[in-house]
Amino acid sequence: MDQVLSLLNSILGLLFILLCLGLILFYLLSDHSRAKLNLRGIQAFSHFKREVDLAVEAGKRLHISLGRGNINDLQGGAAFIGLTILDRCARAASNSDRPPVTTSGDGVITILSQDTLRSTYRSLGTMERYDPTNARLTGLTPMAYAAGAMPTIHDEQISANIFAGHFGTEIALLTEAGERNRSLTVAGSDSLPAQAVLYVTSDEPLLGEELYAAGAYLGAGAAHSASLRMQDIVRWVLVVAIVIGAILKLLRILP
């Protein structure tokens, strides 16, 4: 019986993933994705875009912090969004005198951020701008990571900080450093304690799924818009399923 339930569980899980995959491919390949996606206004992204333009004009730097998530587990998802944001920032600031700088608390994320910068500059034909020391590992424990990233915010003429990745409550030290430096802080994380702290300490917190919409808002490609549509549809499916489940439990139909 347990084996049958386990197999059923696996099949349902796989069907869920296939549903998500099918919806992404459908919106990616169909004409729907070519129509302009109506996105609700998220103030953080509009402020961020403006700040990128101002940074380019003022000759200042953008700081993208990718957190200390390990890509071998769930925490890596948020860091991949950070890499997408890094790509968009590097492109937007391609005319700037000072290229963006990234900090992270994991070796693999550091290598991936170097790789993202390299491929972005290669695609722009400006490989001479690539400097591997602009993607830095600052520390391996939460506090060491925060302590290592704070001097970057203070010393590198940063005009805006974007925190996108897995953080804990130590992110308050980083947002505080941004505040003291009078630079904008846009921040999102997959961790609930970090989101609670960001609500209090960040200029523009990204809560829940808002971080994962960054690619669609920053124009990272049709795949990001398609996956955002998938998330909207599946979220409603899950909400309806949860409400129906609650009603069935209230009526004692479900144990």
Partner: protein, 207 residues
């Protein structure tokens, strides 16, 4: 070659990702190849860590070369990194000298940063009303106050039972409901991110 390498990277990533995903659903069939691939990933991650530390040393070496007032931090970092590597190299990762370095330097510094963090959070909470003067900010601060008062016995009064009941209700009903809503969004976002990489349209590995 410039075009072949990114395509090869993408093919390797898509195939590896598919096997690892299938390994979660059908461990009997794909479990072996899944654990082998994860084992390789862990070895590569260890090398990435070494490269990251090397990168950290280069960044601070360059900072020492530049004439800035903040390069004293870089000198301290490089010196302590060198001394730690020597000590751990001789004593071993769990040797008494290595543990002495960890317990005498790393732990006190991290604990003091935690104390700073507590002060920063209190200050940020107090400043929240000027940052976002909205009704939900007041609701947030009142909730924080209620939870704090309900969590600790008060001076000379002790525990206030109604506040404890309110604290329990806040923690178990609205907080859990909100947290589940946020986690649902995070989970769907993570699935979407993973699928974009799995089908090769998002290539964070420079493809």
């Amino acid at each position: 070659m410039k075009k072949i390498l990114p395509i090869t990277n993408a093919i390797i990533a898509v195939i590896s990702g598919s096997f690892i995903l299938l390994g979660y659903f059908f461990p009997g069939v794909f479990g072996g190849i899944q654990s082998t691939l994860i084992g390789w990933a862990i070895i590569l991650a260890a090398f990435a860590l070494l490269l990251g530390i090397f990168n950290l040393a280069i960044v601070h070496w360059k900072k020492i070369g530049s004439e800035k007032s903040s390069n004293i931090n870089s000198i301290v970092l490089l010196t302590s990194m060198f001394i730690t590597i020597v000590i751990v190299g001789i004593s071993g990762p769990t040797g008494s000298w290595s543990l002495w370095v960890f317990n005498s330097f790393q732990v006190p510094v991290e604990v003091s940063l935690l104390a700073v963090l507590a002060v920063v959070l209190v200050y940020a909470g107090a400043r929240l009303l000027t940052r976002r003067p909205k009704w939900y900010t007041i609701l947030f601060l009142v909730t924080v106050l209620l939870v704090l008062l309900g969590s600790v016995p008060l001076f000379l009064i002790g525990e206030i039972t109604p506040l404890s009941i309110v604290r329990d209700w806040l923690a178990q009903v609205p907080a859990i409901a909100g947290a589940r809503g946020l986690l649902l969004g995070v989970a769907l976002g993570t699935v979407a991110t993973g699928l974009r990489i799995l089908i090769g349209v998002d290539r964070p590995y420079g493809g």
